[in-house]
């Protein structure tokens, strides 16, 4: 699947901003206000969500402001849809 540069989310408290671009394999750079306690879980969730959408090659830069899992899943999915042009909600 071709991945273009795309972004979803905001830098508001409780949100996460997800930038997706081309890459080889999944590379995830995370900055998080809760990195010490939840960084590992958040990275795992981003990877799982992308893999679930069939994306195995991408470079992700995420800036997290304490988002919950549901928000992270939604923002990663929206960024992926924009990056691939494949609308997972419609198709």
């Amino acid at each position: 699947m071709t991945v273009k540069n795309a972004v979803a989310g905001t830098l508001e408290s409780g949100d996460i901003m997800v930038n997706i671009g081309p890459g080889e394999g999944l590379q995830i750079d995370l900055q998080s206000s809760v990195a010490a306690q939840f960084g590992r879980q958040i990275k795992d969730l981003i990877a799982q969500t992308l893999e679930g959408l069939g994306i195995t090659d991408a470079h992700v830069e995420a800036i997290d402001k304490g988002a919950l899992d549901c928000t992270i899943r939604a923002r990663v999915t929206a960024a992926a849809v924009r990056a691939t042009g494949k609308d997972v909600w419609k198709d």
Partner: protein, 472 residues
Amino acid sequence: MRNSKLVSLEEAIRRSGLTDGMTISFHHHFRGGDKVVNLVVDKLAEMGFKDLKLAASSLSDVHKPLIEHIKNGVITDISTSGLRGELADAISHGLLKEPVVFRSHGGRGSAIANGELKIDVAFLGASASDELGNACGVPRSENAKSICGSLGYALPDARYAKHVVVLTDDLVAYPNLPAGIRGADVESVVVVDSVGDSSKISAGAIRDSKNPRDILLAKQAAQVVINSGYFQDGFSIQTGTGGASLAVVKYIREEMVRRGIKASFALGGITAHMVKLHEEGLIGKLIDVQSFDKVAAQSIATDPSHVEVSSVEYASGQHTGSATHALDIVILSALEVDTDFNVNVLVGSDGIIRGAIGGHQDTAADSALSIIVCPLLRGRIPCVVPHVTTLITPGKSVDVVVTEYGIAVNPARPEIKEKLEKAGLKVVDIQDLARKATSIIGTPDPLPFGDRVVGVVMNRDGKVLDQIHIVK
């Protein structure tokens, strides 16, 4: 006047006999607007002092310049109620070799009164002073430049320090009486441009929170107060300044008016909200150790029923006459509460110091009913946890925890639980609250603490309660 006490800051320091290694003290009544700590410590650094112990009633963001003074060896030891901002961050990462000693306001008062905390020279800012050192936190002339209201945290220093220097930005004619700081206790008076920026006493204007979660928490907390059995004519109350705490007062007020109930006194940090209820005749006396905003500061200047008390009279655990012993209800906030009802208000869940003990330990311990109001989660940070990061107020002092997911009652207070259930409130097990938090956010990884101790938390009885470790 012969042998005038009126001198320059440098002369006052010289006269005080201060030497390296001694203890200097300050109050924090100007909160974020304080100018005295930085002014005095800069001068002490310039005069070449080293290895001083700084005993502040509290420190905040504005005291960032202390970082350089610590690096240069001017300050090597700190005791305080709290730390915030960059100074707190640097200390959490190991800036200071000696651990910071944290005491509650009542605990600090006791420690000064019983000689455990010995102050060599107190530097006390005041909005008005006469040449003999009769000093207060309210304006006494039309030239007044500042107002901070009660000087409650400075009064033990004034009484017990070996040497007292008053700094003021308005020198008035003798006699500046009544005055909390008595000239008989004061050795020098220094006139400065400004002791503090009064507009920064309250961090942000006091207003009703529009956050729907705060409003829900406040309504629940008000219901707890109203149905607790302590909501009777003549009751007494203390609240914090957070959005939820302020809103609680609003809902309690409505019920007081409806039932025709009046409070005998409100205690603690006094806010504009409490002043309003007092002026409406709903609260008899305001007992004020710290004026939390300008409205409160102005009220204490003019209203004889609004009374200044020292931190000893306010909340000492070692003086049976302190006001907390007469307190019925206190409403407090928390960074974390654990399943044993222990509370942390000092260290963030990232391990960084970001708060103050304040009167939390004191009021929770002595009041008849202590209510903690906090959301279950702040973003992804849980507020109800299996174990608090740092123990500040022991669970045996905490009676009720109000969250948006339900109200937990300490098993030691079954009669309160029964009353709240009877009133139809949603009473839940605190274990269920912790489980609910975990089900939403997952289990946090352990914090990256190192072995070195950067802070020691004292209980109000003078015993060590917990230690704060360095963050890697």
